[in-house]
Point group: D2
Amino acid sequence: MTADADPSRTADAQGGPKAVDHEQAAELAVRVENGALRLHELEDETDPDTAVAARRQLVAKKTDTDPSTIGSYGFPAGVAEPNIENMIGTVQVPVGVVGPVEINGGALEDERYLPLATTEGALLASVNRGCSVINHAGGATARVTKAGMTRAPVFRVTDVAEGLALVEWVRDHRQKLREAAESTTNHGELEDVTPYVVGNNVYLRFRYDTKDAMGMNMITIATKEVCELIEAETTASLVSLSGNLCTDKKPAAINAVEGRGRSVTADVVVPHEVVSEKLHTTPEAIAEINMRKNLIGSAKAGSFGFNAHVANPVAAMFLATGQDEAQVVEGANAITTAEVTDDGDLYFSVSLASLEVGTVGGGTKLPTQQEALEILGVRGGGDPAGSNADALAEAIAVGSLAGELSLLAALGSQHLSSAHESLGR
Amino acid sequence: MTADADPSRTADAQGGPKAVDHEQAAELAVRVENGALRLHELEDETDPDTAVAARRQLVAKKTDTDPSTIGSYGFPAGVAEPNIENMIGTVQVPVGVVGPVEINGGALEDERYLPLATTEGALLASVNRGCSVINHAGGATARVTKAGMTRAPVFRVTDVAEGLALVEWVRDHRQKLREAAESTTNHGELEDVTPYVVGNNVYLRFRYDTKDAMGMNMITIATKEVCELIEAETTASLVSLSGNLCTDKKPAAINAVEGRGRSVTADVVVPHEVVSEKLHTTPEAIAEINMRKNLIGSAKAGSFGFNAHVANPVAAMFLATGQDEAQVVEGANAITTAEVTDDGDLYFSVSLASLEVGTVGGGTKLPTQQEALEILGVRGGGDPAGSNADALAEAIAVGSLAGELSLLAALGSQHLSSAHESLGR
Amino acid sequence: MTADADPSRTADAQGGPKAVDHEQAAELAVRVENGALRLHELEDETDPDTAVAARRQLVAKKTDTDPSTIGSYGFPAGVAEPNIENMIGTVQVPVGVVGPVEINGGALEDERYLPLATTEGALLASVNRGCSVINHAGGATARVTKAGMTRAPVFRVTDVAEGLALVEWVRDHRQKLREAAESTTNHGELEDVTPYVVGNNVYLRFRYDTKDAMGMNMITIATKEVCELIEAETTASLVSLSGNLCTDKKPAAINAVEGRGRSVTADVVVPHEVVSEKLHTTPEAIAEINMRKNLIGSAKAGSFGFNAHVANPVAAMFLATGQDEAQVVEGANAITTAEVTDDGDLYFSVSLASLEVGTVGGGTKLPTQQEALEILGVRGGGDPAGSNADALAEAIAVGSLAGELSLLAALGSQHLSSAHESLGR
Amino acid sequence: MTADADPSRTADAQGGPKAVDHEQAAELAVRVENGALRLHELEDETDPDTAVAARRQLVAKKTDTDPSTIGSYGFPAGVAEPNIENMIGTVQVPVGVVGPVEINGGALEDERYLPLATTEGALLASVNRGCSVINHAGGATARVTKAGMTRAPVFRVTDVAEGLALVEWVRDHRQKLREAAESTTNHGELEDVTPYVVGNNVYLRFRYDTKDAMGMNMITIATKEVCELIEAETTASLVSLSGNLCTDKKPAAINAVEGRGRSVTADVVVPHEVVSEKLHTTPEAIAEINMRKNLIGSAKAGSFGFNAHVANPVAAMFLATGQDEAQVVEGANAITTAEVTDDGDLYFSVSLASLEVGTVGGGTKLPTQQEALEILGVRGGGDPAGSNADALAEAIAVGSLAGELSLLAALGSQHLSSAHESLGR
């Protein structure tokens, strides 16, 4: 039984899991235990939900546990087949909403509820407070300032002379490379390639417009085609389709500097009365804390993240909307700025350098994640293509802005009260 | 209805959600819409599950969507109260297992199934292949080589002379600081404090043993107490309880170099026959790819992550076991090494500098996450204290090792076949 | 008297200092001491050498010292007027030569003596040994793989919407920007501009071909012109002609990744017999040390320099040839690679990402520095323009290669002997 | 003939070069050309100055040049023997002074002239203006906040279990390690060792108090002794005496974060009247530019240097005082801060994390460099030991402070005038 034992809700293909054949599940679990069947082969023997139940039963027995809540998932296991192997159920993470928040974006012009999934108490309350302040300030501005998904294979050459020759060949054959890449995809477009030479290694960083898809799969296939062309027409030898200058799922300056996925900024001017009435602090205090903590502190830490906790809203919105959680890494490459305007108000901004998001493909196709995208109003492909992913990026930027504003303000009000106490002693 | 409509399963407090009062939910949703009630106040009016239903209904109406699968969660909403506000249900992420894999750890000595939650198809298959190879090699060795959770407040001083005085005061009052910190906690122990001076800012990086807890809340409270002592006894003024030298949820060299949470390494020697038979490549090819991609490529990218995709298993095991997803950022600070031994075998290792994990507190208390921790055999506090979190760190390191090995081997076998083709042309 | 009291040498304008009017110098020193004249105004009152002597005399008196060796310089002080203010003489740094070394470069095809100025004993001996090995290996290959000097002003805009508008305006007015820039220079060419947006700050990184000049002055003037155009035609307001994304004289990933000045690589294949006979080690040992020290060690250190001591030859050749010593900072952004070839030989390379060099302008015009450039065969403007600076970059890369090879080999032979001892115990 | 053909100056051992035997020099040059003698063996055949002349003559002939100014050096070549091999003379760099500037340091309490050697015109004028402003503000405060020179050998172990065992052995044998280290030196003291484990590599970062010496040689010898002890008593095998976590002469976060040599800060509060009258700008403008350029700009560049041009005074004072020019690299790890005080004045600071300086040993023994140290009042060993090197560090910090202040103010006054023009149009 689920929380939604709502009579109006039917367990149809989308809405709920298929019935499990418990007898068959038990029998299959025994076959796996006996070595007659391998754990990943269960889906070959029965329907997805029964396979999942059998696997869970086997694991339960072997580990002497009862993972039944993991088995209490709310959709047919079959829909998750492209997303996982060896499934035993789902992990369930609480999801909530903040807002609605007013966004004046390049792709997203409206009030939106932002869905966040997290296990960190107080996060939504904090982001929600930020949203409320943003609304009192007339909404947040947001823009995608750069876009493009990258893949950077590494080639081995004989020596630097041959390396330079490869660089020149690539420069002279852009059109041919583009044609090879785009022969593999209806959506992706090869926009650019930047070469990097280190000894007898040549890294070629290909940048693509992947529209509404995050695009890693799309561009990996396209880049593979390009690499085959290069290997066929030059003496270079492909070592790896990814040479780590992409850079995917690692903290890397190249992403913080040059961007990957969407580079997106959200900002707002908060009138000083709003800062004092709603946030119980001053623009000056927030600007000072931002300087000492987010700028100077991060400088001293050798950081790519000059912010307070942008990874929190990024991770929570990624999780809610089916993004790749491992890409939270790059999502944290963000700079928060705060300053007092000539009118004494607070200018506040968050700039995320490398937000890799999509509204189609990957985890976005799962039922709960689709519903979260719908709540945000950005499910599926946008019109024009790419606009939904732009909108998602803007929404995450605004969520980050709200989170930063709220946390810095909280520090500011503590700082003020601490200062008051100090004066009193 | 859930996949587990298993007669043996009862919807008790732990096992399933409470029944929703749909009539009340509808009425409450109207009150929120009319402005008579605020979105976050619903839990004050009714039971948690009905509040969640009311909120979901309101959002559904406002956004013209039907987030009913989000409502199909498998446990009472009340258990998630410490973890989220404004809850509308759960997001469900497929979870599976790989292994069992043999681990020769400092805290974990056994075969274990590793639970991973992800939406990235092929990830579990890949990690599973790595686990199989590790088993053929006699298991992986794993050790936590450094531990300690950090919080680094920033203080403002008048000038560097006063800054140096503060540094000296702190050095001379370690015992007093320790007592203040430990007055707030039964578990945490203050181990160390390192000062950093930048102009009129003094950052004090406090490092704690937090046992089986990831420990951010614990040490934030303890550090607050310490800061009050410092403000009372010196002229320094606290600006922010976190000055970003902690560093939490940002990519930062200080964590990659000095560690945060657990620094943990897993390694294995894979006999060359196993490399060729199971992985269809050679130790030499894997070592070469690791050098060109993970070492030189990441060097050129200005990265803190010298690995292929450690963030993938880290994120997936974090999600399955209730860790803080935003801390995947620091989890990606990992270095993979590969070399051919004198016997022609493959030495392979992954060292994660800053893995922030716990088996108590935070998201680990949620039902599906608890079940995943049970499958791994590390639920709750360990004996001795801290050993379960150590074991979890070792398990994640081994999962990362398996993932790296499998991916590099896949690149290696492509590289070999590509090389063969080249020879053929 | 100087070491070169060679009868064939005449103290002409170039060859030696002018005679000092000691009486006038003494009188001027008194006037400065009495406050009648300011220290920097001495050149207004007399010839450069007498002014220098007067200033030295004043400082000698005030500090109770006798800086007479500083006064024993070997050229007329007047030639240094564009290079310094408040001159009291010269600091003299020993300069020597290594080589000749065989270079197969893109711009430099020959045997060359490399001049190095240093105070670090053993450096030239070490680099010289490397040169000798390179010669035994048939010479080093060298290529400039990327070139361009950068300046990145920062503009303030109202918000990100205006920031994006500026980015688009710049993209649409490349030709106009180029014309403005090139109106200020006969040599420099604006090649590229890359925008970076952070909140209400827009950084525009302009990249120029500066031919044989290092080019900072040239491009600063050109960029100033460009900025005036931008301020005139957009709403953006220039904050600083350098916004630190250039990046000049600071260690920065943007230079290590994207390059600045010349990106240049030198490499060599050293036959294994040469490695054993001349270097008393093996290709395997060198490759291993390079991996553990230069790659993994630097990775763990959070470094942009994956090398042993490239800064040593860079600093020494910069000093000898009149480059800007503060730009040694960027010169250290170098990656050394070492691997064993299929034939058992040693492939060895050094890639310097951001070597900012010139053969005209700045310190290259000073007499001793000009002589060092002549020894190297790269004094003044090249034909074609830029080829001399390319050649200088290649020479420094080869010097760095020699230095790296020699040091790693020394470590290798110690490692081997240590290993032998270990076996013996 | 030199500029100082001052009758009061005698060409004694210190004061001038020995007479060259030109006949012998010519003969020796021929022997080298004929292959009868090697270039570096000349000092075995004759006195240092004649050897230098012979080598210069040979190079002149081979390269068809006349490096006679290089030969016009002002001291006996013999004094440079510990500093260079294959000497052909000296490179002469103009040196000047700025100041005197008032310093309220921990080790340096006085007005001092700062000597700077550079080829960059306008640098001394700029630093001098900064000094003047500092004096108007009552002088700069300076403090060394951390000190210690580091060497980090890398050891190979079997696997991480053995690696952890080594870490524990080191922790348990600190005293023994200290005794081994200190058996090699009368001055150095081993203060600390920090272990870092990456796979089967263990890096041990030893930190020493090296008193007035920069100390690389001293601690390399001491660490060698320590390494022999470790190899004798454990199973670990030394790979390299430097494993690049030292980190010497490479830009590395470990130095920027943890410091190397001296961590030193200089700061000043400049009254707003002084800012406006002497610098023609405002505290607000300077603070803004510092934020947009030095903090946010450097953040976006992925930099370890959050300053405008600290490397300029560092390089110039290093060169003047005989420091190792290659260590300018680490000297650039500096953060500049600027803020408006409650009274509307300018608080301004520069913090250099890793300034590696000494007043004894290395290049400090050369004649011109000694004279520069004397001008600064810090020649030779201090009393107490270490105080002269501390004083030198403080002086360089103040020079950097002056340079930063002057450059930011110049940008500020341009910014203001530009703003005025904008208002006018």
